[in-house]
């Protein structure tokens, strides 16, 4: 038998640590991004990244599409990752026999990852187009 009860318990511990680490990192990222970095980005002065992007028709879409999407969808990641981490913590090894819950956790975490991927990708690209200085 490839999967044993001690083996599941050992892997569940690692899974719980990993999932909470990801959830906490997601919270720290959206909180610092929204409350520290974003005010610099959207400052009203003409030299702010937002002002620079909107001043040029060729770069406006970086704000109106890229930044507008990333600033909202990024917040989905910590919410969904926290729910997924909580479920894994609460059910622990019993998830091995609860197929529906296991799949639900997988979907939640995948959507959380997709949300953070959109936010991270546009964040990196925006920083190339209009760096915050």
């Amino acid at each position: 038998m490839l999967i044993t009860e001690p083996g599941i318990k050992e892997r569940i511990k690692r899974l719980i640590i990993g999932m909470w680490t990801m959830a906490i990192m997601a919270w720290l990222t959206v909180i610092s991004g929204t409350y520290i970095v974003y005010p610099w980005y959207r400052a009203g002065d003409p030299g702010s990244p937002r002002s620079l992007l909107l001043a040029n028709p060729d770069t406006q879409a970086w704000h109106t599409f890229g930044m507008e999407w990333k600033e909202h969808v990024g917040w989905f990641a910590p919410i969904l990752a926290t729910a997924a981490a909580f479920i894994v913590t609460y059910y622990g090894a019993s998830l091995a026999e609860k197929n529906r819950l296991r799949k639900a956790v997988l979907v939640l975490f995948t959507i959380a990852f997709a949300s953070s991927a959109v936010a991270g990708l546009f964040g990196a690209l925006l920083n190339k187009v209009a760096p915050i200085q």
């Binding site: 009860e5 599941i8 318990k9 959206v30 929204t34 409350y35 974003y38 005010p39 959207r42 109106t64 599409f65 507008e68 999407w69 600033e71 909202h72 969808v73 917040w75 989905f76 919410i79 969904l80 926290t82 729910a83 909580f86 479920i87 609460y90 059910y91 622990g92 090894a93 019993s94 026999e97 609860k98 529906r100 819950l101 639900a104 979907v107 939640l108 959507i111 949300s115």
Partner: protein, 111 residues
């Protein structure tokens, strides 16, 4: 931890966590679009001048999630629930939340 005992846990707690997070996502998405429709709502969500209405849109979503989750948790803990139905509703709410934060969608309502 006794893994055997864990197998007796019902799906209620998971359903509460999944649905509450989906509602939080949906509320954030809805407010993103509604703020484009209503200038007064956009102003009301601007809790901080530096951050703008983003703080209110995400703040309301997170606060709603944090209020709803313990309520569902208390209601469904130890109960047998229709997890499949709750899960499908949750996935639909999350998809709508995503859809409503997509810029071409909410900008279509921009005044």
């Amino acid at each position: 931890m006794n893994a055997r005992t864990d197998f007796t846990k019902t799906d209620g707690v998971a359903a509460a966590a999944v649905l509450a997070s989906a509602i939080g996502v949906f509320i954030t998405g809805s407010l993103t679009t509604l703020a484009e429709i209503s200038d007064s709502l956009k102003t009301a969500l601007e809790w901080s001048g530096a951050v703008g209405p983003l703080i209110g849109k995400t703040g309301v979503g997170v606060i709603a999630w944090l209020i709803i989750w313990p309520i569902f948790h208390a209601l469904w803990r130890g109960k047998v629930v229709n997890f499949s139905a709750i899960y499908i509703v949750s996935v639909i709410l999350i998809a709508l939340g995503w859809f409503l934060t997509f810029p071409p969608v909410f900008e279509a309502f921009s005044g």
